[in-house]
């Protein structure tokens, strides 16, 4: 192996493969986290549909859903987007009866908003850092409510840094507070329905076939729309896959450039290589034996490149916490994420990276070796 050529090839390979491995590991990590979130969530998610569009449900729907045979509980929830501060930071405000969701408290520093209290919030780590919030901080009014007026919101808790990443730009509050913020009393964006074991399909059918709700103005009819856990599992990774697709597109463009660079670098020491091949042929080597040697060389180079890239990818994600690249997959995340980025380095991308490296190096190596090996030894030596 030509030392300089080998070094240049391995460096070029690492430069190509590393972002790919990191990107794929992030996408897979996010997908896994999305799946885990769904698994631990409600059995069914009920929303309303009017004119074919998703609309809030009237609170009367809670009673009707709870009355369905097989339903263990139905928790109303308000989910909406708010914009905060002069930097117009986008955040998701979730309002629900937090004491009915004890899993939240495990990942919060401070306390959850109390049922009867108003204007108490728990904020995500990303939001807290961006707006300089901590427990006890107050948030100036950022909404309009003509009936109740606008109030300060007090931070009573902050999500822990190791909590699931979905909390980064989240504000968690009581159902009543969320209703005031969005000025939508008597409505919920959705219901989180838990079912008795084995009754999920039955409840699903019953809600769809038997229930309908009257809209807040008493004129229209709102039909229920039920999303099961299985539906969510299919839907949630879609966003991740979309970003993965965009990332792959960028990667393909980078790859084309990289292949060209590698083909050029494979020409490093070409004259010397041509002469070497001529000498080997003059001393009894056959063309196929020389090409086989090139194949072995390519295998060693690509394996080295892939292994180094794999190691660096792990370091980038584990130690560097996806520095610079995490924002590509996670909206609203800065270059330096302030919470642990989920990642999974799986065998398929790693294997694909190796195959990719092998093909690239092989193209560069074999083309030059072939061109030198098919001429007469004396000509190659000259």
């Amino acid at each position: 192996m030509h030392p300089l050529r080998s070094l240049v090839s391995v460096c070029a390979l690492v430069a190509v493969i590393l972002p790919y491995l990191v990107g794929m590991a992030l996408a897979q990590g996010l997908e896994a986290e999305a799946e885990a979130s769904v698994q631990f969530g409600a059995d069914l998610l009920v929303t309303g549909v009017q004119f074919g569009r998703t609309v809030p449900l009237p609170l009367e729907a809670i009673k009707q859903v709870r009355a369905v045979d097989g339903v263990k509980g139905a928790l109303p929830r308000i989910v909406g987007e708010v914009v905060l501060g002069k930097d117009r930071v986008h955040a998701v405000l979730v309002g629900l009866a937090v004491e009915d969701a004890p899993a939240w408290s495990a990942c919060i520093d401070g306390e959850l908003p109390k049922r009867d209290s108003r204007y108490e919030i728990v904020v995500g780590t990303g939001l807290a850092r961006r707006l300089g919030l901590k427990i006890g901080s107050v948030l100036p009014p950022f909404y309009r409510n003509d009936k109740e007026g606008e109030r300060l919101l007090r931070v009573v808790g902050v999500f822990k840094a190791d909590a699931p990443l979905w909390q980064a730009h989240l504000m968690l509050t009581s159902f009543d507070t969320a209703a005031i913020v969005f000025d939508q009393r008597g409505a919920a964006t959705d219901l989180l329905v838990s079912c008795q074991p084995g009754k999920q399909d039955e409840v699903h059918r019953a809600i769809l076939q038997r229930l309908s709700f009257t809209s807040a103005d008493g004129q229209g009819v709102i039909r229920p729309k039920v999303t099961t856990r299985a539906d969510l599992l299919v839907m949630l990774p879609r966003g991740v896959l979309h970003r993965e697709g965009v990332f792959n597109l960028h990667f393909v463009l980078a790859l084309v450039v990289a292949i060209l660079v590698l083909l050029v670098t494979s020409g490093v020491g070409l004259t010397e290589r041509r002469r070497e091949i001529g000498i080997l042929k003059a001393t009894g080597w056959q063309t196929d034996e020389i090409l086989l040697r090139g194949l072995a060389e390519s295998f060693a180079l690509s394996l080295s490149g892939a292994c180094i890239a794999l190691g660096l990818a792990w370091l980038w994600l584990r130690v560097g916490n996806g520095f610079g690249i995490a924002g590509f997959f996670l909206a609203g995340v800065d270059a330096v994420p302030d919470f642990p980025i989920p990642f999974r380095i799986t065998p398929v991308p790693a294997l694909l990276a190796f195959v990719l490296a092998f093909v690239i190096v092989l193209t560069g190596t074999l083309v030059s070796a072939w061109r030198a090996a098919i001429v007469a030894p004396r000509e190659a030596i000259r």
């Binding site: 002469r275 080997l280 003059a282 009894g284 056959q286 063309t287 007469a376 004396r378 030596i381």
Partner: protein, 225 residues
Amino acid sequence: MLLFETKSLCKFYRPGAAAEVRALDDVSVSIETGSVTVVTGPSGSGKTTLIALLGALERPTRGQVLMDGRDLGVCSDVELARVRRRLGFVFQDFCLIPRFTVLDNIIYPLIPRGIPHTERLRRARELLTRFGIEGKLHVRADELSGGEQQRVAIARALAGQPDVVFADEPTSNLDRETGAIFLQVLKELHLAGKTAVLTSHDPEVVALATRVIELKGGKLVATPA
């Protein structure tokens, strides 16, 4: 017994072009097994081209090169590689692989010959000891002096225990000591019944020849028996 025979052998470079070079033009010679043949002639007379064609390092433009009665000009690439395994070359500019060690330069040609690794090492050590450079086994070829490189080149040519040794101006770049070693090797080859084909102007080498072929301007001048 006839080992090599050339019939109206021609080698033209850039044939048909205005700048065509007729390196060899209608050369017919024969070389017996066990002979020491020295090809002489002025620079550019076609000496190197003749031994390159005899050694299957390139194909003739016209005519034939027969080795043991077999036309090398029509042999496949694989067949020519097998022919070369019966030969040993000492090139004028040594043709060592510069980034390889001395040891690798000697043992690499033995790999396609199917010689086991331990035997390859044994032969390399033996030859290097004989030529007085056993201490340079793991030194890179490009770190050796000219004389040392020539010794390694001779060792490489002999390591495969070839039937025929070709040497292009083997003593032209050598110090006296290395020249003496080469002449001794040549004598031993002759005694062992091996064939040697050399190009040289060195009277000491010519003195060892059993046959001298003289070339001038790519044509045969005289082939005294």
